[in-house]
């Protein structure tokens, strides 16, 4: 008798977990939670996030959020919104996100590593903010990324080599930061010129660029180490 009861309990638990899993999948709550977490760490003096109602089944009716036909978030458009505060790691849960537009705000803190999970991301625009810390090397996993604009922040550290493997990159702007170290020139970075790196005094220009018009091709000399990234 006890055996029958315990096997019945076991089956019931399995069934209950399956139903719970189904319910959670259908409701898409993870994306509501992710964006709600972002709302909670941002300061929003103009109330642009007023429509962000966490009791909704999905965030697709919220202003500044765009979804696809499966009610999954594809765009977050919050450029020029007077926002301050910080970003959150939960942004990595928006697995179908293609456009993350947070430019021209006053956002501080670091770029979360978890953004590297957004494998559908086409555009990452965090420019004109007050972000600090490094460019996460996890961004090298974004194999559909076309626009990476992180300019005009206070980012430090080096340019991750992993980014050279992002063959889809078309526009890179890292200018006006505190980046240091060598500028990669291989892979996709063959397309990028000093314009992409302006005003990072600690960045070391690659070899093989003339120090002034009509200089012979470089063999390293101490003169080149004095180059700024301003003009080659």
């Amino acid at each position: 008798m006890e055996r029958v009861i315990s096997s019945f309990m076991g089956s019931f638990l399995v069934w209950a977990f399956l139903v719970l899993d189904l319910v959670l999948k259908v409701s898409g709550n993870g994306e509501v939670d992710a964006l709600n977490a972002l709302k909670s760490t941002l300061l929003d003096p103009n109330n642009v996030l007023q429509s962000w109602d966490a009791t909704r089944v999905n965030p697709c009716t919220w202003f500044h959020v765009t979804c696809n036909s499966d009610n999954s978030v594809t765009r977050v458009d919050l450029g020029n919104a007077d926002l301050s505060g910080q970003l959150v790691s939960q942004l990595g849960q928006l697995s179908n996100l293609q456009y993350l537009e947070l430019y021209s705000n006053n956002i501080t803190g670091k770029i979360p590593d978890e953004i590297g999970k957004l494998t559908s991301l086409v555009s990452l625009d965090l420019y004109l903010n007050k972000l600090t810390g490094p460019i996460p090397s996890t961004l090298g996993k974004l194999q559909k990324l076309r626009f990476l604009r992180l300019n005009n922040n206070a980012l430090s550290g080096g340019i991750p080599m992993s980014l050279t493997a992002v063959s889809s990159l078309q526009i890179l702007d890292l200018s006006n930061n505190h980046l240091t170290g060598e500028i990669p020139v291989n892979g996709s970075f063959s397309l990028f010129t000093p314009i992409s790196y302006q005003n990072n005094p600690g960045l070391i220009p690659p070899k093989n660029t003339p120090s002034a018009p009509r200089s012979p091709p470089a063999t390293t000399s101490s003169a080149e180490l004095h180059q700024t990234t301003e003009f080659h």
Binding site: G79, N80, Y103, S104, S190, L191
Partner: protein
């Protein structure tokens, strides 16, 4: 020289240099001037550039112009100019120099004529992709292209270019693809690294020689 006037001279030189380097980096007023001048310089028989309206002065307005791609959608700073297959006539537009952040230029399939400027590396110093194919450009391929250090792609096919291909083009460190088919070129081809050219890159020129083509006669 009197000491004070020497110091004065040094100050003038330093200020001048600072002015130049500052002016080089930021070009939004100049980008508007760049496009306006290009529009004025070229003949546009099919009115493709008629939609370029310079009366609208909102932020980033040139970014919505046909053929114009900007670095940022709300800033008047051009990254790519793609004016392909528009029937445009006239010379290579020197005013492009004012688009100081330009990296991509595609003027292919037009009726542009006269020479490719001999100082092109000063006009478009940061160009990574340059497509001048299918036009009526004449004269020689300028040596100056060898100073366009960031060139990845250089397409000059289907023009009336003559003379030799500058050997120094083989030194371009980032070059991935080069084509001059269908021109009037002669002489030894440059010694490019593997993978940049095939025989097709040189097809239909009267007198080119050297690998991958037939050897040059002494």
């Amino acid at each position: 020289m009197v000491r004070s006037s020497r110091i004065f001279n040094d100050c003038v030189i330093i200020s001048f240099l600072m002015l130049i380097t500052c002016g080089m980096n930021y070009g939004t007023e100049t980008d508007i001037f760049c496009l306006k001048s290009i529009k004025n310089a070229l003949q546009d028989p099919y009115n493709y550039l008629a939609s370029w309206d310079f009366n609208d002065k909102t932020e980033g307005f040139i970014c919505k112009f046909i053929g114009v791609e900007c670095w940022h959608p709300d800033e008047n700073r051009v990254i790519n100019l793609i004016l392909s297959n528009m029937g445009l006539k006239g010379q290579f537009p020197r005013a492009i120099q004012n688009c100081s952040s330009l990296t991509g230029l595609d003027l292919s399939i037009n009726k542009l004529s006269r020479t490719i400027p001999g100082d092109i590396s000063i006009l478009v110093p940061f160009v990574t992709s340059l497509d001048l194919s299918s036009n009526d450009f004449a004269g020689e391929i300028p040596q100056s292209l060898a100073n366009c250090t960031y060139l990845n792609i250089l397409k000059l096919d289907r023009n009336q270019l003559k003379g030799h291909i500058p050997a120094q083009l083989a030194q371009l460190p980032r070059l991935k693809s080069f084509s001059v088919a269908n021109n009037l070129l002669t002489g030894r081809v440059p010694n490019f690294r593997p993978g940049i050219v095939t025989a097709k890159s040189y097809a239909n020129n009267p007198g080119l020689c050297g690998s991958p083509l037939d050897p040059c006669r002494a």
